[in-house]
């Protein structure tokens, strides 16, 4: 089975010590600010902030390099085609790159320094319905699992001499495989739900963390929120909105 929810690197970093509840809030604010900001200097400042948080997480290269590689692969088409297809393409590409960098660095710092159970606990502590947290967690986990099932089914088809062609037989087979995948995914989800219920799961994520947030956790979050608010205000001013 593919490792779906990776274990986080065992690094004692400032970001790891930051209480999950306040870390989640600060990074949520950073991500939202980066999403709404449009001017390049402000985006550059937010990317720098993202880099600072990322560096504070002290994540090993072996953890972040493949993730950045995958991200770079996904955004590469935009970076190539934006300058070629838009009149202000270079500007758009720069803004896009900075925005993706700011968001990715912040999110990598968050998921690389917070165990999943703690993260879900933090999500719930902000009043997000536990059902939503569960759906997010299990959807993420089972995306990988279904990809594995698909790989197994493809092998099963290949060993029986199936070759994908543009004909009726191929379309029908692909349809059947898709249906089979959905049925297997549903069965698997049912089994996992049963296993969780059998171990007393009642819809709430619990964690072993007994640590209460310290003043520094809140102050760091507040400082980031203020920085983001200033960036957003400057951005709006530059755009003539504020």
């Amino acid at each position: 089975m593919t490792l779906a929810i990776d274990s986080i690197p065992d690094v004692d970093s400032p970001c790891r010590r930051w209480h999950a509840r306040w870390k989640l809030l600060a990074i949520f604010i950073m991500v939202m600010t980066a999403s709404f900001t449009q001017t390049i200097p402000m985006l550059a400042a937010l990317a720098t902030l993202g880099l600072s948080v990322f560096l504070a997480a002290q994540l090993p290269k072996s953890w972040w390099l493949p993730r950045f590689g995958a991200l770079a692969f996904a955004v590469a088409p935009f970076l190539i085609f934006l300058p070629l297809t838009q009149t202000n393409g270079v500007e758009l590409m720069t803004a896009f790159t900075l925005r993706v960098t700011a968001i990715a660095l912040s999110l990598f710092a968050l998921i690389g320094s917070t165990p999943v159970s703690m993260l879900m606990h933090a999500v719930q502590s902000w009043g997000v319905p536990s059902l939503f947290a569960q759906i997010v967690l299990l959807a993420y986990r089972y995306t990988f699992l279904i990809a594995d099932e698909l790989a197994r089914l493809r092998i099963a088809l290949r060993v029986r001499a199936f070759r994908n062609r543009m004909d009726r037989h191929s379309y029908r087979t692909v349809g059947q495989v898709t249906g089979c995948l959905l049925v297997r995914g549903s069965e698997r989800a049912e089994h996992v739900a049963q296993a969780m219920r059998c171990r007393g799961f009642d819809g709430r994520f619990r964690t072993l963390e007994t640590r209460h947030p310290k003043a520094i956790d809140r102050i760091t979050c507040l400082a980031i929120a203020l920085f983001c608010a200033v960036m957003l205000w400057l951005d709006l001013r530059r755009r003539g909105i504020a």
Binding site: V192, M196, L208
Partner: protein, 241 residues
């Protein structure tokens, strides 16, 4: 008083076909029972009813005085009935082995120190000490089975249900499992096609066929009855031939 009491238990699938039909038996504390039968005999369905996962519509079940049909009892049932599923991959969902084993005790509302102690004990019991930070998905088939068992043992159930525990295990893994089963405390029900495993681990056998309990008796008597075994699509285990 019996630890497990099942009376006239019936269960139908959603399409109306019967999965269990008038199943009646009792278990005493500390008993080790093999639940045998061909595919579709109803072993897994019986386990899911005992664990409170499937609703009991016909008949009654009492486990340690708890009735799975009552919502308030059903909430307390995971602390009394532990079930290890056929496919360990269904049971392992946390990022590390530690988190996975701690999942049940945390849901029971135990104090953090107690949770840590139980995790350490369960990992030691199942021979997984030192692997607590490994992702459970990266373990071998045998180790995954032991990890799933550790997750259930950490809840210290009074009744342990093992569904096909030797499935996918190599001979070494199977031997380790038999040794481990011998060391487990409490009441045990092992549902399996592996009759040699049942013969080595259980004193009593429940034989199921098409949702009915067709025989209940000492392991040596039942499993060596060639006519009975053949009638219900099974074979006398090699070790008893």
């Amino acid at each position: 008083m019996s630890l497990v009491e099942v009376r006239n238990l019936g269960y139908r699938y959603t399409d109306g076909s019967p999965a269990l039909d008038s199943v009646t038996f009792t278990l005493q504390p500390g008993e080790r029972v093999g639940l045998v039968g061909t595919n579709g005999a109803g072993k897994t369905t019986l386990f899911l009813c005992l664990a409170g996962v499937l609703p009991v519509s016909l008949g009654t079940i009492h486990v340690h005085g708890l009735d799975p049909a009552r919502p308030e009892d059903r909430r307390r049932l995971p602390g009394q009935v532990g079930i290890v599923f056929q496919n360990s991959d269904d049971q392992l969902f946390s990022a590390t082995l530690f988190d996975d084993v701690a999942f049940g005790p945390l849901n029971l509302g135990l104090a953090p120190d107690e949770v840590r102690q139980r995790v350490a004990e369960s990992l030691q019991q199942t021979g997984l000490t030192g692997q607590d930070q490994r992702p459970p998905f990266h373990l071998s088939g045998g180790a995954k089975r032991r990890a799933a068992l550790a997750g259930v043992l950490a809840m210290r159930p009074s009744v342990l249900l093992l569904d096909e525990p030797s499935m996918f295990l190599d001979p070494q893994g199977r031997r380790d499992l038999i040794r481990l089963l011998g060391e487990l405390p409490g009441t045990l029900i092992i549902g399996s096609h592996d009759l040699d495993l049942i013969a080595d681990s259980c004193q009593r056998v429940l034989l199921m066929h098409e949702g009915k309990l067709v025989a209940d008796g000492p392991t040596n008597d039942l499993l060596t009855d060639a006519a009975l075994m053949e009638r219900y699509g099974l074979e006398v285990p090699r070790s008893r031939r």
